[in-house]
């Protein structure tokens, strides 16, 4: 049996916890991009934060990892939580550089020129919800 809320809860959490500062630091637009570099030195950290637990603890069972990155344009740090499997498949390691590219509804995160994740913007994330109908 599928758990439809599995991924979608994560998406919803993404929007709920994206701080306004992030949007300010991002240049919204089809061709805009910014550079994000990982600055974590202790490896990729499991996400134990309250905000994540609230949203996805029961459904993802801690399958995400948090990557702290710095926007090279603004220098501001940003924590990005990505499924560990995604990071493993993409071979992301501490010290690696990630790239972000915005579109009208969110942000692509790329590693070595390949998109590895899509972070929906706050107002778009609810569009990815899915749940069984009431019984």
């Amino acid at each position: 049996m599928q758990l439809p809320a599995y991924v979608l809860a994560a998406v919803l959490a993404a929007s709920l916890h994206a701080a306004p500062a992030q949007a300010q630091s991002s240049t919204r637009g089809s061709d805009s991009s910014s550079m994000l570099s990982t600055i974590v030195t202790s490896g990729i950290v499991l996400l134990p934060s309250l905000m994540v637990v609230h949203a996805i603890d029961s459904s993802t069972q801690g399958s995400h990892a948090r990557v702290r990155v710095a926007d090279r344009q603004t220098g501001r740090p940003m924590d990005v939580d990505i499924p560990k499997a995604t990071l493993a498949q993409a071979g992301v390691k501490p010290g690696d550089t990630l790239h972000s590219r915005n579109d009208a509804n969110g942000q692509y995160v790329a590693h070595n020129g390949r998109d590895i994740a899509y972070v929906p913007a706050k107002n778009s994330a609810p569009m990815l919800r899915q749940a069984p109908a009431p019984r």
């Binding site: 049996m1 599928q2 758990l3 439809p4 599995y6 991924v7 979608l8 994560a10 998406v11 959490a13 993404a14 916890h17 994206a18 701080a19 500062a21 992030q22 630091s25 934060s49 905000m51 994540v52 949203a55 996805i56 399958s63 990557v67 501001r76 740090p77 940003m78 924590d79 990005v80 939580d81 990505i82 499924p83 560990k84 499997a85 995604t86 498949q89 579109d103 009208a104 509804n105 969110g106 942000q107 692509y108 998109d115 590895i116 994740a117 899509y118 972070v119 929906p120 778009s124 994330a125 609810p126 569009m127 990815l128 919800r129 899915q130 749940a131 069984p132 109908a133 009431p134 019984r135």
Partner: protein, 273 residues
């Protein structure tokens, strides 16, 4: 202190043992980031159209598979409801469970509806005539939505049998319940009788014996034993398709009482370039 900006990167990746989303292929890979971005883009465009039309409920279709050889554009249909308890513009529809012989009813957002690696990024929207437009929100918002649901799924279910049901069949029977001026339909059998009475014509597909046998043997979600023998043995498989539901509404619309802009029967297509 430097404020830490937090975002949750929803990479939509399914780990090896992770469950799959209902209605999506049950392969253990994630939807690609590009697929998520495009699904959201189309979802937002559809939302803008819906906001303009502003119906309480409408039909919405997607082109998940290439059905050109059958002369069909859309492969799957749902209701989209404006003021659903789960959120504005919620999709309510039946999805097959990972290729099994069962289905369930789901409520989801507009973006999720197009996350199914569609063949074409196109949506078909059709407004509904009265009394369906007024009655459906109460049906779709709660447990009543399940009244016309039959959990035994067959992708090509015969629409005048209750042995199996496909996604469009649930929608069709729920629609029949809402269309009945007498408001007396409360069983699947009654809904199917009403549809016959109103002249509903399912789509007829030509599917040969070997194709049918292959489908039955290798796919749990395809069966043909619900189809009348005289049709089946002549390779005539009748089923509820999106286009057949659109035709039903188009036939109803001219005689229906319209209480909203656009009323019923006009198909609005939204497509990403």
């Amino acid at each position: 202190m430097t404020p830490t900006m937090r975002a949750l990167a929803a990479a939509l990746l399914f780990a090896a043992a992770a469950p799959a989303l209902a209605g999506r292929p049950c392969v253990e890979v994630a939807p690609k980031p590009d697929a998520v971005g495009k699904a959201l883009a189309l979802g937002n465009q559809v939302q803008a159209v819906l906001e303009e039309l502003n119906p309480p409920v409408a039909l919405i279709a997607r082109a998940g598979q290439n059905l050109d050889q059958y002369g069909l554009t859309y492969s799957h249909m749902a209701f989209v409801m404006r003021d659903h308890p789960n959120g504005r513009w919620s999709i309510v529809h039946v999805l097959n469970k990972c290729g099994t012989a069962e289905s369930d009813l789901f409520v989801e957002g507009l973006g999720a509806f197009f996350l199914d690696d569609p063949y074409r990024l196109v949506a078909g929207i059709m407004l509904l005539p009265e009394p369906a437009a007024s009655r459906l929100p109460a049906i779709l918002a709660g447990t009543e939505a399940r009244r016309m649901h039959g959990a035994r799924y067959s992708m090509l279910a015969y629409p005048f049998s209750t042995m199996y049901q496909n996604s469009n069949g649930w929608l069709l029977e729920t629609l029949a319940r809402a269309l009945d001026p007498e408001n007396r339909i409360d069983t699947r059998e009654a809904a199917q009788s009403y549809l016959k009475l109103r002249g509903y014509q399912p789509t007829e597909l030509r599917i040969g014996t070997f194709t049918r046998l292959g489908g039955r043997m290798f796919r749990a979600n395809i069966a043909f034993d619900d189809h009348p023998g005289e049709l089946r043995w002549n390779d005539r498989i009748q089923t509820a398709t999106v286009e057949s539901v659109f035709r039903l509404i188009e036939a109803e619309a001219p005689i229906a009482k319209c209480a909203q802009k656009g009323c019923g029967g006009k198909l609005v297509a939204v497509e990403l370039p």
